[in-house]
């Protein structure tokens, strides 16, 4: 394969090239070289052409010592009676179509016994079927990990399908049935209406019978979600929107059957199935929008269950599920592996990515005796841990519990539509009863005629438009937000966003980018920066990368040694050159390296023979539009606060930079929850924006919460809204759309009220024929939907409403 000798990026992962080159091309690390070789040997080089330019391949972790955690996989394999094996793997790092293709092609290429390999981009899951023994699972999983993806058994039990996904599929089947029935019944009804005068009784009854044959099974099958929900509500002594819907549909169908049997003129089958179809559309879209949230939660579960390698009493490594690791056991953690238990380091020096636990983006250097927690990722060197807590006892499990507890408070929010249904149902049913009594006693009509009129009142008031008024707006709003990379996870998020008056921001990773940048320093000359950058380009540590970014592209020093937890060392022509922590570089505590000592923050020291040590300071920069968004929110009348777990000085400095006046620093996760609870007790409606696991409980405790897509999984699971992209403009946009959506919902509700005020007298007077009912019901539903669609087209942020 011809290679460009001036390659500046790793041939596998696309990272700027910092390290050594091999004969096959240039790679940033051993892992990437291995993955490239594997892909090349399988003849799958097309992967590099196919993947999107901006999406880099996952960086590959180097192998450490100890037993392979994949050895626990055969337990998760489900064996079918015919001897075929099935395994569902959760795949971390799967993010584009090229990944799907690569994984599927790699697993099936030289393995004819693999019957099917199907990767799913939505659930980040790989389903493998093969004939053979469960132990082959390890081989396949190792192929996938060799490509740079992390795998874990999906949701624990091998073949168990997700019940929520099955429910969604059932909803789709019902929707298809209702759509088929609505189209065909409507065809028959139109011919009845258009031929009303010319058509004979026998023909009309025939058409009614055909309609009944289509409509009855449809109502019985497609109406089940509504009937079940209504029944459950009535059993609990409540009413919800499904109660009037069920009553309306059942009455309409029942009366139409009676009419058909009696060769009557009016049958309302079209209205019943059309209503079901419209409502199922709303419900299906709603359930789809929440599918993503579900898969994120499943993903978290899978990460928790990655098996742990324990050194047994006989000195042999042994693979156990994390919950079964005995306290005091010695656990081996390879480089690149996620730690499965809480414990202390017994042996080894390494850097840990602790962002899942602390929200801190800088790696944590650990030495023997240091405490580590489940969920952290071991980056540079293998470690031996002594387990102090496992399974439910870990800090990670504790945080998830705190999160669940905080979420319970939120379940109290009652949907606007349900609140209306509570008031609506009795009024409508009393009106129908009054109509019946009035016709019998005042109008002296026959009782069955009065009954027909009373039922037609119920039919015409069946809350089709009312039931669509809210979901139609929600679908339009979530579609509009999704196009801008903002995902609404919770069905009630929009309703809870509209009354927000206080916005609370977390600091690291939310207002800031969560990545260090070199602080500009006028005394720093390029001649000093460049030699340091030559070393820094050889490392993937965030501070090294920041230094390399600041210096721009340039040559890399050969033979740089990275000392875990210390820094970089290079044997230069004039002796050792070091770049790293103060202690690693042997700098006295009193030296200030030419930088103002008052500034605190992450730092690197650079020492060369015969020259004064030099200090580089780093800081986490605010997102580029943070100040603009804060100003915009303040102008719109929101109270903006900063709530940070960081030190007061750092928090105050950032708040001043972006223009936030109210700052609370040094807040631990429990303090954050308490602060939000206090704000809510004052009667404020609080929006929390945060990204770290330490914010997760606070996100759940706020009225509504946003989190950037760069946030850790748990936090995204806790948040109601997840936004993508570098900017914070999504916060202002979400709030604007929510307020606009509230306005549209109110318009829709006012319209349906008006519709009922007009239609009910017609029905009470006894003029509601099926044509009138169908025209009124579809007309009001379409009007409500058209009004909701205005949200997608208009630009609310310029509209000034």
């Amino acid at each position: 394969m011809p290679l460009d000798s001036l390659t500046t990026h790793c041939r596998h992962c696309g990272q700027p090239l910092l390290g050594a080159a091999t004969e096959r091309g240039a790679f940033c690390c051993q892992g990437c070289a291995g993955a490239y070789t594997l892909i090349h040997d399988l003849g799958l080089d097309a992967y590099y052409d196919r993947r999107p330019a901006e999406a880099a391949a996952p960086a590959v972790a180097d192998d450490g010592d100890g037993a392979d955690p994949l050895l626990g996989l055969p337990d998760a394999v489900a064996v079918a009676p015919d001897g075929s094996c099935l395994l569902r793997l959760s795949v971390d790092g799967l993010h584009c179509g090229a990944c799907l293709w690569l994984i599927e092609a790699a697993v099936t290429k030289h393995h004819p016994e693999v019957r099917s390999a199907r990767a799913n981009l939505t659930t980040r899951c790989l389903t493998l079927r093969w004939t053979g023994t469960p132990t082959q699972a390890v081989e396949y999983a190792r192929l996938v990990t060799g490509l740079g993806y992390r795998v874990a058994p999906f949701g624990g039990a091998g073949a168990g399908a997700d019940p929520a996904a099955a429910q969604e599929r059932a909803l789709l089947r019902r929707l298809a049935l209702a759509g088929f029935a609505a189209a065909n019944v409507m065809l028959l009804s139109v011919s009845v209406w258009s031929g009303a005068d010319a058509m004979g009784d026998a023909t009309r009854t025939l058409l009614h019978w055909v309609s009944a044959l289509i409509a009855l099974p449809t109502v019985a099958i497609a109406g089940q979600p509504f009937f079940q929900s209504a029944l459950a509500a009535l059993r609990a002594g409540r009413t919800n929107m499904d109660v009037p819907i069920s009553v309306g549909v059942l009455l309409t169908t029942g009366m139409s059957v009676v009419m058909t049997v009696q060769h009557g003129e009016h049958a309302y089958f079209d209205g019943a199935v059309m209503l079901l179809f419209f409502l199922l559309v709303g419900r299906y879209l709603d359930s789809r929008a929440r599918g993503r949230a579900r898969s994120a939660a499943a993903h978290l579960l899978a990460l928790n269950q990655a098996p742990v390698t324990v050194l047994g009493a006989d000195g042999l490594p042994q693979v156990l599920p994390p919950a079964r690791v005995p306290l005091g056991a010695t656990v081996l953690v390879a480089a690149g592996e996620r730690i499965g238990v809480d414990g202390t380091v017994a042996e080894g020096v390494s850097d840990l990515d602790a962002s899942l636990v602390t929200g801190e983006t800088l790696p944590l250097a650990v030495t023997p005796g240091a405490q580590v927690f489940a969920g952290m990722i071991n980056r540079t060197a293998p470690l031996r841990l002594t387990a102090t807590a496992s399974g439910e006892g870990t800090l990670l499990a504790e945080m998830v519990r705190l999160l669940e507890a905080a979420e319970q408070g939120r379940a109290r929010h009652v949907l606007l539509a349900d609140r209306i249904a509570r008031a609506y149902t009795p009024v409508v049913h009393l009106t129908a009863l009054a109509t019946f009594l009035a016709w019998v006693f005042l109008g002296s009509a026959a009782w069955y005629q009065a009954l027909l009129i009373a039922v037609s009142v119920l039919i015409i008031t069946c809350p089709c438009a009312l039931a669509l008024a809210v979901p139609a707006v929600q679908v339009a709003a979530s579609g509009r937000l999704m196009r801008q990379g903002i995902l609404l996870k919770s069905a009630t998020a929009l309703e809870r966003l509209a009354p927000i008056d206080t916005v609370v921001f977390d600091k690291t990773g939310t207002l800031t980018l969560g990545r260090p940048d070199l602080v500009a320093d006028p005394t720093l000359a390029a001649e000093e920066l460049e030699p340091a950058a030559r070393l820094a380009r050889a490392s993937r540590h965030p501070l090294s990368r920041a230094l390399a970014r600041a210096a721009g592209p340039g040559p890399v020093a050969d033979g740089v040694v990275e000392v875990p937890g210390g820094g970089l060392r290079w044997m230069g022509p004039q002796g050792f050159v070091r770049l790293g922590s103060r202690a690693f570089c042997g700098v006295a505590d009193s030296a200030n390296g030419g930088v103002d000592e008052g500034r605190a923050g992450p730092e690197l020291w650079f020492t060369r023979c015969g020259q004064a040590p030099r200090r580089f300071l780093f800081a986490d920069r605010p997102r580029r539009d943070a100040a603009a968004v804060v100003a915009e929110l303040k102008a719109a009348g929101y109270r903006v606060e900063l709530l940070s777990g960081d030190r007061a000085v750092t928090a105050q400095a950032l708040a001043a930079e972006v223009g936030i006046d109210i700052v609370r620093a040094d807040a631990r996760p429990a303090d954050k929850c308490a602060h939000l609870a206090a704000l809510r007790a004052e009667g404020r409606n609080v929006l929390m924006v945060g990204d770290g696991l330490n914010d997760a409980a606070a996100l759940a405790a706020a009225d509504v919460s946003l989190s950037p897509a760069s946030a850790v999984d748990v936090t995204q699971t806790a948040a109601d809204v997840v936004f993508q992209g570098d900017g914070l403009a999504a916060v202002a946009e979400t709030l604007a759309v929510a307020r606009r959506a509230r306005a549209l919902v109110r318009q829709n509700l006012a319209f349906t009220l008006l519709y009922n005020l007009c239609a009910v007298p017609v029905a009470i007077a006894g003029f509601a024929t099926p044509f009138v009912a169908a025209a009124a019901m579809s007309g009001s539903s379409l009007a409500v939907m058209a009004n909701a669609l205005r949200l997608g087209s208009k630009k609310p942020r310029d509209g000034g409403y």
Partner: protein, 54 residues
């Protein structure tokens, strides 16, 4: 009106065929991964893409 006797069954049969096809597609899992299917269509194994020139 006699034409109705075969027109209605014909219409229902055709509509029913469409419904069955859709239900089969749902059962077959074709709606499981809409994100993945959207990108999969771009890859054809037999004809490799032209090399990207950088």
């Amino acid at each position: 009106m006699n034409s109705l006797l075969f027109l209605i069954p014909a219409a229902l049969l055709l509509g029913g065929l469409g419904l069955c096809a859709f239900l089969w597609a749902v059962r077959d899992g074709q709606f499981e991964d809409l994100d993945g299917s959207a990108t999969r269509i771009l890859y054809e194994d037999e004809t490799p893409l032209p090399k990207r020139h950088t």
